[in-house]
């Protein structure tokens, strides 16, 4: 995917001025933020669970090689295969080779952000294989040739009319010529179209929320059940996962599931939680003949031991997006690549380069709400600050910012000079305000005065008044 993160500012302004998007974004507050708050309020030990979740994920990252090898051995033991992919290109090629080995023409897909990260759909299509997304949100945006705008609710930026338009434009070949706008009718229509795909697909590709080392299982959580049909109906199941998704035991999975569902949607548990262990066994009534796991690195192993390692604790719950005042104002597309919101602002520069994604870790007030809700306590503001430090070291910080900071620092390091400069500024701003208490336009601070007045100082700084006072009564 071509990143547009460099144009973040422009994207953000366009998003702010898009009334349809703004209306859709309103749903996040009701659908996610309030539900999470209610679920957390009902569970007094949620704080302790977060500590345990953080510790568990840290433990895994400290022993990642061990658990990955264990996982691989268990997958093989249960009759499956593991493929290691260093980067996106390798992962795509592995998937294509598996598809070709069974002459696949049609592939059904469960929701997978890793698939978005590697651009799998475009790659398969370019190679003559038709991928069909089966998660309703993913399916809708696939019809619209869009990227997900949210990591668990990919079509959250759309309204019903837009969905109806997309269905009307694409469903005639399946015998649907009437336009519906009621959610129930839209859902039924999508179900019927997708059912045909499920039955015809040669390969089913899913993501994996977790990879369980002790059993060699991959785990997916969904609310639609589409993932189950994707992984059980076709002859071949491929699970795509990034390497940090490994978890030691089933017990550990249950801890993370409790955190995940509450943080993501305010549910105690998602509707479907499905474990896949190996291909179909002789006694099974259904299941795929082949079970493959593709484990993607894509730069993650280089984060181990470094200042961004904490980011690998992420379990992709999206709470940080939902609670971010910047994300809620502009939605996910403005971020310009696969992962939006605070988690994306840390991860994206790692994956596509700080030169391209530098805007993202800067577009934050460091309000800290993301860290406050993160179920595994990732210090997202601190990690965004680390990116700013890298930018500064490499002289990537924009010139006006760097220059302004330099001037300010020159004075701040010299208290006497600073006092005089501050006194002058207090006097000058007072003059500019005239009789009013505030300034309506200030050429050097247009960013401020374009939208708000600047309250004027009274004219003499605290330090000046303090010195005068002390002379009076020493």
């Amino acid at each position: 995917m071509q990143a547009t993160s460099l144009a973040f500012k422009r994207n953000a302004i366009a998003a702010l001025n898009n009334p349809v998007l703004q209306k859709a974004l309103n749903n996040i507050k009701i659908g996610f933020v309030r539900k999470r708050a209610a679920a957390v309020a009902k569970l007094p030990e949620f704080g302790l669970l977060r500590d345990a979740g953080r510790d568990l994920r840290n433990h895994v990252l400290d022993h990642l090689d061990f658990y990955l090898e264990r996982f691989e051995a268990q997958v093989i033991e249960s009759g499956g295969q593991v493929h290691w992919a260093r980067d996106a290109a390798e992962a795509n090629q592995i998937v294509l080779d598996i598809c070709r080995s069974v002459n696949a023409r049609l592939v059904t897909k469960g929701k997978s952000m890793v698939s978005e990260e590697i651009g799998l759909n475009d790659f398969l299509e370019a190679n003559g294989i038709r991928p069909v997304e089966t998660d309703l949100g993913e399916y809708i945006i696939q019809l619209r040739h869009e990227q997900p705008s949210h990591i668990i609710a990919p079509a959250v930026h759309l309204n019903r009319e837009q969905v109806a338009d997309a269905f009307q434009a694409h469903h005639a070949p399946y015998g649907f010529t009437e336009r519906h706008e009621e959610p129930r009718a839209l859902l039924d229509e999508a179900r019927q179209v997708l059912r045909q795909q499920f039955l015809q697909a040669d390969v089913g590709i899913t993501g994996a929320n977790f990879c369980v080392a002790e059993t060699g299982s991959t785990v997916i959580v969904t609310n639609e059940g589409n993932g189950d049909l994707t992984q059980t109906l076709p002859r071949v199941h491929i699970a795509l996962a990034s390497i940090e998704k490994v978890v030691p035991t089933l017990e550990d999975v249950s801890l993370l599931l409790r955190l995940l569902a509450r943080s993501a949607t305010g549910q105690e548990l998602s509707v479907y939680t499905t474990f896949s262990t190996g291909p179909r066994h002789p006694a099974d009534v259904d299941g795929p003949e082949q079970f493959h796991v593709v484990l993607l690195d894509n730069g993650r192993s280089s984060m181990i031991g470094g200042e961004f390692q904490d980011m690998l604790r992420c379990i992709r719950c999206a709470a940080c997006l939902n609670h971010c005042p910047v994300y809620s104002a502009i939605g996910g597309h403005a971020y310009g690549w696969v992962y939006p919101g605070p988690m994306g602002s840390v991860l994206t520069p790692q994956l596509i380069g700080i030169e391209v994604a530098g805007q993202l870790p800067n577009a934050s007030t460091f309000c800290g709400r993301c860290e406050e809700v993160c179920p595994v306590q990732i210090p997202l503001p601190k990690l965004m600050r680390h990116w700013r430090e890298r930018e500064f070291e490499r002289h990537l910080t924009p010139m006006p910012t760097r220059f302004g900071l330099g001037v300010w620092a020159f004075f701040a390091k010299r208290p006497k000079l600073y006092r005089r400069a501050a006194s002058f500024a207090a006097w000058a701003l007072r003059r500019l305000a005239g009789g009013a208490g505030r300034i309506k336009r200030l050429p050097l601070a247009k960013g401020w005065t374009a939208w708000r007045d600047l309250p004027a100082p009274p004219g003499r700084t605290f330090q000046q008044q303090w010195a005068a006072r002390r002379e009076q009564r020493p």
Binding site: V326, T365, F366, R369, T401, P457, F462, W466
Partner: protein
Amino acid sequence: MITAQPKIGLFVTCLVDLFRPTVGFSALKLLEEAGCTVEVPVQTCCGQPAYNTGDRATARTLAQQVITAFESFDYVVAPSGSCAGMIKCHYPSLFEINSGWRVRAEQLSTKTFELTSFLTDVLGLEQANVDYAGTVTYHDSCSGLRELGVKTQPRRLLGTVAGLELREMEESEVCCGFGGTFCVKYPELSNRMVSDKVAHILATGADTLLAGDLGCLLNIAGKLQRDGVAIKVRHVAEVLAGLTGVPAVGEAEGGE
């Protein structure tokens, strides 16, 4: 242990110094009335703008300046959760573990407090002996709230101000969009956030907005006034100290 008359180094903050000296004098008054000896050592800025822009070297130099000026006091108190948070939560991380500066930064960290939290949590103040005739709503500034746990302290004290009615707004814990340099680097986003904040303030019907950080207050006051809304904006310390004779933030001398 609190000594009979703790010696306080008042960290005025650069915004208060320039834009709102009354806040500094309010802090001074509150601390002195609570039995402290207060001094104002040589100071400029805590270094947060440099720190948050990724310029660790400058942030470190400024941190050393603050540590040197303030380490001889029993406590460092700032009328700002943001600056107190910088000293308390971030200074140590600027220095190598086990280095002399790290130890000094950690020592300073343990004795640095945001004003309302110092008054209540450390000094045990329970009563503000002032009155304020008005309906106020309180905005929780991000750093104070999330880094220092300042939430109930200002409200407890405001609850004892005669004549004052506190009406909570929706989403009082959501950022107002100031964010230091954020507000000029991303003005449209900042404007959107402060507009949401203003809407929540208006919905309470309060006539006064209070908060504990001048950055937020300048931002919110500037927006209220651009929108032509006559809600008074003040730092919580001004009300607690009874220094409300001066015009509110952004108000002209002698009222509007």
